[in-house]
């Protein structure tokens, strides 16, 4: 233990602790800006400076470790003045039109200015306005708001290993952009949205599509259908002021009806359907000698990653569409037929924890009539929060209600799709029982649960031990992709999710997603599973009925038409637009 004094209070902390953490552990607040739990950003913004007795200059508390006998002052006039000036200088190069920013009241820079008591613009602005990059379906980059903290670079480089964003230039003209100052494009970016999730200001945001949804809701010709992804029920509460990990399934259904949606359905239904199709695909590949290991295909960020960086492993991907797209195809095909409604006047909205889902919904393969997208708009959890606030709904006091039928009858297996390991566990519950023709003694596959990046387990299927693995983050996805490329993968089936923690840590989730928050959402999702009456996808009566009535059999003709897709290598193309942002 190291003994030191912070603001004359004697404290003792573990060796190697930073001054910032030592202060935090002793309830002394040091304001920060670039610092973010789980990331490795240090001393970029310099807001966390403190004074150490005997040292001439101020030091950044986030990157300085404690030493025996240190005397630290976190709140001397000199420190407070320096912090304020540093922040004021950051503000001179920031588009401070806060009212016209989606991050208003949710912005870390705004919050910091408030804490430091900045109530006037002491220095004139030096901001040179630059074009906004909104040339992709998922993310919008506004360089005028960027404060160059480097969080997006860290998450893109170290967690996702894609490294699309980098520091370009230096000094006052330094900026953060993709290579050559180009726009984000689908030739390298997976649109996972982790950059948007960690951005302290409004420099990277999801592409807001709430207006399209309002238009559809107010269009009398349109019948509006909404689906809610598994992970949303444990996170929307946070967006609307509830505690992390609050389960709000029933409130979501009520809120969506109040917003005016005609059919309020659950993506969990098509998650169950995914398990039936994907499970049968796996059994077929194992028994008939197909390409193994089979890789899950529910995550659009992962699909883009494989298509761009590992086209060799595309045959390993399950041909199943994601639950979002299975739902869209069924809504505009089967459901439209069932209710006798012209699919052109159906408007399908999905509520997703994800920004890549916006890209997925726009993919040309995801229109079963060849013209109209099966899912018209994919909203993030944050965007749904916006709709609910705009509508003046007091979310916390809403009564619970149920999802509509038939796409509202779901199982616990579908609910856990929202977390890393969930798709695997759901698949194993079904595949085990189908292959071994006996019920599972224990439904919980605890080996594949939790936030560990790389998990594996062995199951006995038809007398043979089969190895399966679960990975999340693209850094870990790269490991399994390299194994497959080298022919050394020992697994039969691998679940891959792009975001840390799976969908509960998705790029479209409420801001402030940290490991601690992910853990709470994860626990909540297993609680949802535990409370469900039916916990295995193949026991979902609505799924059974769907096969009887319409699809006939898994992997059958109609399944291929509606529920399966194909992948292709994303080619590096010559840039479509000029390098408008290149200045060097």
């Amino acid at each position: 233990m190291i003994n030191l004094k912070i603001n004359n209070i004697p404290v003792s902390v573990k060796e190697g602790t930073t001054i910032l953490n030592a202060a935090k552990q002793n309830n002394i607040k040091i304001p920060t800006l670039c610092n973010y739990p789980d990331l490795h950003i240090n001393s970029e913004c310099r807001v966390c400076v403190v004074e150490i007795e005997g040292r001439k200059g101020l030091v950044t508390s986030c990157s300085t470790q404690v030493r025996e006998g240190m005397k630290i002052i976190t709140n001397s006039p000199r420190v407070i003045n320096a912090r304020k000036t540093i922040t004021e200088l950051i503000l001179t190069n920031h588009d401070s039109n806060c009212n016209a920013c989606a991050k208003n009241m949710n912005c870390e820079l705004q919050n910091l200015s408030n804490i430091l008591g900045i109530d006037q613009a002491r220095f004139p602005s030096v901001l040179k306005m630059e074009p906004i990059d909104d040339h992709n379906p998922a993310l919008v980059r506004n360089p005028n708001r960027c404060i160059k903290c480097g969080r997006c670079i860290d998450v893109c480089k170290n967690i996702q290993t894609t490294n699309i964003l980098e520091i370009m230039g230096r000094g006052q003209s330094m900026k953060i952009t993709p290579a050559y100052g180009k726009y984000l494009s689908d030739e390298s970016c997976t649109f996972c949205g982790q950059c948007a999730s960690v951005c302290p200001v409004g420099a990277i945001l999801e592409k807001d599509e709430t207006d399209k949804v309002w238009d559809a809701l107010h269009d009398e010709r349109k019948r509006t259908i909404v689906q809610v992804a598994p992970a949303v029920r444990v996170s929307l509460g946070e967006e609307l002021g509830l505690k992390a990990g609050s389960i709000v399934t029933g409130k979501i259904a009520t809120a969506l009806r109040l917003l005016g949606f005609d059919d309020v359905f659950d993506t969990d239904f098509t998650a169950d359907l995914t398990i039936i199709e994907e499970g049968n695909e796996l059994i077929k590949r194992v028994t008939e000698g197909g390409t193994l290991p089979m890789l899950t295909s529910c995550c659009p960020g992962w699909i883009s990653f494989a298509e761009t960086y590992y086209p060799e492993i595309l045959p390993n991907l399950s041909t199943c569409k994601s639950p979002q797209q299975m739902f869209g195809a069924l809504a505009k095909g089967y459901y439209a037929e069932k209710i006798g409604w012209d699919p052109e006047n159906l408007f399908v909205v999905s509520i997703m924890p994800c920004t890549a889902k916006k890209y997925e919904a726009q993919r040309p393969e995801m229109r079963h009539d060849g013209k109209h997208p099966d899912v018209d708009v994919a909203l993030t959890v944050r965007e749904l929060g916006k709709l609910i606030r705009q509508m003046g709904i007091d979310f916390e006091s809403l009564p619970d209600s149920e999802f509509d039928n038939p796409f509202g009858i779901t199982t616990g297996a579908a609910a856990i799709f929202g977390t890393t390991g969930g798709v695997m566990e759901a698949a194993l519950r079904t595949v085990y029982e189908v292959v071994n023709k006996k019920p599972l003694e224990k439904l919980d596959f605890t080996d594949v649960r939790g936030l560990k990046g790389f998990k594996e387990t062995t199951v006995n299927l038809g007398g043979a031990d089969v190895k399966v693995a679960v990975v999340h983050t693209l850094a870990n996805a790269r490991v399994i992709a390299e194994q497959i490329k080298a022919g050394t993968s020992p697994y039969a089936f691998i679940e891959v999710m792009t975001c840390p923690g799976g969908c509960i840590g998705g790029g479209g989730q409420p801001y402030g997603t940290t490991t601690e928050v992910r853990q709470k959402r994860l626990e909540a999702i297993y609680k949802v599973d535990g409370k469900m009456v039916i916990r295995k996808s193949h026991e979902n009566p609505a799924i059974t009925k769907l096969y009887e009535e319409y699809l006939i059999e898994p992997l059958g003709h109609l399944s291929h038409e509606y529920l399966h897709t194909h992948y292709h290598q994303r080619k590096k193309q010559k840039p479509k637009h000029k390098n408008v942002m290149a200045t060097y």
Partner: protein
Amino acid sequence: MLLDKILEKYPQQEDSLLEILLAFQDAKINHFISEDEVRQIASYLHISEAKVCSVLSFYTFFRTENKGKHVIQVCGGVPCHVESDFNVAKTLEKELGIKVNETTENQQFTLEYTSCIGLCDEAPAMRIDDKVYTKLTPNKIKAILAEYRVYM
């Protein structure tokens, strides 16, 4: 081809990036690194194109577009600015008939600013390719340019 030959001399690790860029820019006739070459270097080193661009953009010595045969870099440091009773960049602009960041029509000269080149004691200073010129005066600049024009 040239790039392949240079690449194979270096280990496939990120640390080699700067050396590869320098060696390649030196060896190439028009002394600049193109987008396709950035892509090739990135894939050789298993790093992203953005990373290579980031390094390229940090140093004023690197060029990402075709420039004149000779690149004139005027020191933009404060001492160079205050030491001279005339404007170095303006003088060069007048002599060459171009503005800063432009290239002469005959592709012989490109004029640009550089960050401090560390010759503050002999300010004002400029660099033409690898050569440094100090204690500049309008006449000295004319003479230097004349020399380059002769050997064009």
